[in-house]
Symmetry: C2
Subunit: 346 residues, 2 copies
């Protein structure tokens, strides 16, 4: 048992006194092989414990039926759902999935890309790290025409597709809601990052202010890394302001929660003194008190759509152009943290 010898199609062939080619074809359910022979082959294969050698097969076929995934972090419900969505679609279409995390670091992202490249993935699904500013670490893919699809945290690139939501619109809606609740001065907390998601959320926030005759001020935007700790830091910044804002729109729920907790500890009343809107519909938004108003979008759907787009491209099924932006819908969820006007709290 120590030296387990792998069974090959040659072994099966010998046993069955037929040629390896027939075995190979039989195993692939080739139409020209007689049903009887096929049956014998399958039975022998099963009995002998045969397993296909992926390496030999991939070496021969020059493809792997595997897609690579790079995400910033694997620690959120959102990402878990994205990956479930990817796996679901990919597996159903006969593809394997290799997952890796960049830990929000552009260099780790590049390292992962290289590993996946060397593993000869047929295509790549990527959500970019905080500090990724350009896409040159994917050049090896572009050069070889290996399709790359970005999702959520995306970047424009001639030969790639993007799957995402309308962040500007969602942010606009969140900010507008705060204004409608009576907020006169709204602070925005976001990432010090050039990622589309943050730029667009900022832009939607600005637009909502402008459209409602509120002057946008640079100093009302607080930058950080959007962790809970960053939220607490932002609370410090807010408390030092000459005049306190009466609304805060945060680019993610975690950070919003961190900020809310820190402010509450200083005696600020939410939403009476300061109303909050977050982003992502993270489970924590239903734990914090008051519950956090937020923007919800389906990770599962993003994952599924991104995988479908990639695989359709791979198999030539797609009737869609190479370059493409797919915008999925998001949903605004109103909870108590933003309801200044007395209504029933949700």
């Amino acid at each position: 048992m120590e030296n387990y010898k792998e069974v090959t199609i040659y072994d099966i062939a010998k046993k069955l006194k037929i040629s390896p080619a027939t075995v190979s074809r039989g195993l692939q359910d080739h139409p020209l092989i007689s049903p009887k022979t096929k049956k014998r082959i399958f039975e022998a294969a099963h009995k002998m414990g045969y397993r296909q050698n992926h390496f030999a097969r991939n070496l021969r076929n020059q493809k792997t039926d595997t897609i690579g995934v790079i995400v910033p972090r694997l620690n959120s419900y959102f990402m878990s759902a994205v990956i479930a969505g990817i796996e679901h679609f990919a597996n159903q279409r006969g593809y394997n999935v290799i997952i890796s995390q960049s830990s929000e670091s552009s260099s780790k992202e590049a390292a992962n890309a290289k590993i996946l490249f060397n593993n000869r993935v047929d295509g790549l699904l990527v959500s970019l790290a905080y500090d990724t500013k350009e896409l040159s670490h994917f050049d090896s893919f572009f050069r070889r025409n290996i399709p790359v699809v970005f999702f959520d945290r995306v970047m424009e690139h001639g030969s790639c597709s993007n799957v995402l939501i309308d962040n500007a619109k969602a942010a606009y809606e969140g900010t507008k809601h705060l204004i409608e609740q009576g907020c006169k001065r709204i602070v925005h907390i976001t990432a010090s990052s050039q990622q589309n998601v943050y730029l667009e959320r900022l832009q939607g926030y600005k637009q909502a202010l402008t459209d409602h005759k509120i002057k946008f001020k640079e100093e009302d935007v607080i930058f950080g890394n959007l962790t809970m700790e960053a939220g607490a830091d932002a609370a410090e910044t807010i408390l030092k302001m000459k005049k306190l804002p009466d609304g805060v729109f945060v680019a993610n729920d975690n950070c919003a929660v961190g900020c809310m907790l820190a402010l509450k500890q200083k005696g600020i009343k939410i939403p009476q003194d300061i109303a909050f809107v977050g982003f992502n519909n993270d489970p924590v938004s239903k734990v914090v008190e008051p519950n956090l108003t937020t923007i919800s979008y389906s990770g599962y759907e993003i994952g599924e759509v991104a995988a479908r787009h990639l695989i359709n491209h791979l198999t030539g099924v797609s009737s869609i152009d190479n370059t493409n932006t797919i915008v999925l819908r998001s949903e605004f969820i109103i909870r108590a943290s933003s309801l200044k006007k007395k209504k029933k709290l949700l």
Copy 2:
């Protein structure tokens, strides 16, 4: 550019007018190749855009330098940390990592195991799904002596190592703490699962009761799937009890939080009416009010230790027996949710 041709060692050899064997050796930094030749080879390889073909290499070498990981879910801080720990150690030792999630389903776990097996991983790291009751889906690994290391959610098996914490002791400590705070009747909420982690936590809970002359009662254990929703369900169950308990020990933080929120909504005061202790030190434990007392253990460390153990085994470095249980330490973190006696709240 459409048909990018891969560069092989033959191409390099031809260009340099040397043999492919020399190129292969040069690329591997073989000691017998002259430094000058090596330099020429490396330069040519770089210039020509050579990349090693893993398939050919693996086919030839019969190993992949890759380890597979199967976890129940990728949505917790804990698992993200575990994976970071695994990747850190593995990459440093020249191994790649393939990650997959079972979504708490034993059959998905089996499917993933099969995929990883077919990908010829050199070893496997597994944290078991809720409903996994036996290990026959890893038989193909056992049969071929491919090492499997279980972590956190483990199961005894003759040829595997386990990396985990002392769950019984941690649960004992949590329960004892509640008793010391004056709790006379403590409910335990846990998973309806045969996993060691839950059995041992239950056992630690029982032992603490017994040691403090509190009679254990079957009906004080509530089973569920440990989600937030399950916590809310458990709250229902608790509220229906003839006499309310004054303490609850929950096998994970998420579920504890769900339970706390539901009870609070019904007017129960925490910790005055019912004190809470959770498990895992999930970030949410610091969001819920009052903050949740919990047991903390390092996912990063578990990942690192598990990976080290596996890879040492793989490379023959290990002086440790085949079968082995590695117990890491955990830490009890006291927060307001369990402090019935007046002290400063943490």
